[in-house]
């Protein structure tokens, strides 16, 4: 089975924990680590080069969108947010064209 190397990025520990718990049902996903803000995430992504990230949008300091703009290595992204208005923006960002 293919192994998907993943990172969880969210400012709330509870939210990261919950995501981790839910991902346990998917053995093909390996969670490499967690980041609580965009700066930590940028470092970890550079270091671990994950294939997939679960990304929160509103975080202290830079937002999830800001992070994506600065990445050299851009993994696949699954946005995690409670802001419905961000959902539309997320589709625009994820459009590869």
């Amino acid at each position: 089975m293919r192994n998907i190397r993943t990172l969880i990025i969210d400012d709330e520990r509870g939210a990261r924990q919950e995501l981790r718990r839910m991902l346990k049902s998917y053995p093909q996903i390996t969670v490499l680590g967690e980041a609580a803000n965009a700066d930590e995430a940028e470092q970890l992504i550079g270091l671990l080069k994950p294939e997939l990230i679960f990304l929160d949008i509103q975080m202290p300091g830079r937002s999830g969108f800001d992070l994506l703009e600065n990445l050299v290595h851009v993994p696949q992204v699954i946005f995690v947010t409670a802001f419905d208005s961000y959902a539309v923006q997320a589709f625009e960002v994820s459009d590869p064209s």
């Binding site: 400012d11 709330e12 520990r13 509870g14 939210a15 924990q17 919950e18 718990r21 609580a36 803000n37 700066d39 509103q58 202290p60 300091g61 409670a82 802001f83 419905d84």
Partner: protein
């Protein structure tokens, strides 16, 4: 004016130039008398009296003004006579005793009409102003209730809270239970607490405490809070949600933007006849305050209307913190 002419035609010889002089001087004098009265009434704030108190005063003012009218009018009439009438006339006392009763009656009638019109006009104006203010206040309160309710029903707050509860379920079931209690309490407060515009200070503080405790369960060590409240003020009535609005703003625009979070400090003290409510949060004032603007603008409007501009709201930076402060007069 009518009475003046009456007086002259009764005397026999009507002259046109005379009539003009009388007319002009009459207008001038009566404007002066009524203007003096207006200043007097303004100074004593008679415009703000209730109708009952006003009528009482009118019973005294009308005869007094009538006498004023009499004195001024009769002196003037006599003076004009003396100056312009070639043949010498009666002595002043004689002239006075003949004309005084008629002029006095005319004066009382004229003054009564003028005073009633003057005060009724101001009374009506005040009533209209008050009812407009009340309507605005009511609207403003409804708006803040709606704001608060939508803040708690807003998907972000609600889903975050629910999501947090879900994660607590597996790790700290007790905390999850507590979070559900707190969330219900907040929703109940928004949904059912009626439309009273004032609330006891301690009830408002309880609401703030529930909110902070719930946010703490979610943000964990990133959110600390400290409530420093003078207990003797517990029974004081304050506008609903006035502290809650400030604290919510502090969490959203202060704590949530700081990586390491920080502390919300609420201080409620009595100072110089005012209750001083201060909410401190880390961070800087945002230059474009359009987001924070609506809730705070509404709060300011409610304070202005409820306390007739004697209460104040201010938002300023203090060291590395943002301080939002409300001062409410203690009656």
């Amino acid at each position: 004016m009518y009475w003046t002419f009456q007086c002259w035609s009764a005397a026999g010889n009507f002259r046109f130039d005379f009539a003009v002089i009388q007319f002009v001087s009459d207008v001038g004098m009566y404007i002066l008398i009524t203007h003096l009265y207006r200043n007097f009434a303004n100074k004593n704030r008679w415009q703000n009296l209730s109708l009952k108190k006003l009528i009482w005063r009118m019973l005294i003012v009308i005869p007094v003004m009538g006498i004023f009218y009499l004195l001024v009018t009769i002196s003037k009439l006599y003076l004009v006579r003396l100056l312009f009438l070639s043949h010498p006339s009666q002595s002043f006392t004689e002239f006075f005793s003949i004309n005084a009763p008629g002029i006095l009656v005319a004066g009382i009638r004229l003054m009564a009409i003028w005073l009633l019109a003057y005060h009724l006009y101001h009374y009506a104006k005040r009533e209209i102003r008050l009812s407009v203010e009340n309507a605005r206040l009511e609207l403003s309160i409804k708006q803040s209730q709606l704001d608060n309710l939508s803040a708690q029903l807003n998907p972000h707050f609600l889903f975050n809270a629910l999501n947090n509860i879900k994660s607590l379920l597996y790790t700290r079931p007790d905390a999850a239970g507590r979070a559900i209690d707190l969330l219900s309490e907040l929703l109940r407060n928004g949904l059912y607490k009626g439309s009273a515009m004032l609330i006891r200070l301690n009830e408002e503080v309880d609401l703030v405490r529930d909110y902070l405790e719930l946010e703490c369960l979610r943000m964990e060590e990133r959110l600390n809070y400290d409530l420093d409240i003078d207990i003797s003020l517990s029974g004081l009535m304050v506008p609903r949600l006035c502290i809650q609005t400030l604290v919510e703003n502090g969490v959203k625009h202060g704590i949530a933007l700081e990586k390491h979070g920080g502390k919300i400090e609420v201080m409620i003290k009595e100072y110089d006849g005012f209750v001083n409510i201060r909410v401190l949060n880390p961070g800087k004032l945002e230059q474009d305050k359009t987001v924070a603007g609506i809730g705070l603008h509404n709060l300011k409007e409610r304070l202005d209307l409820s306390y007739h501009h004697r209460a104040s709201f201010s938002l300023y930076e203090m060291g590395q913190k943002v301080c939002s402060e409300i001062k409410i007069p203690i009656r």
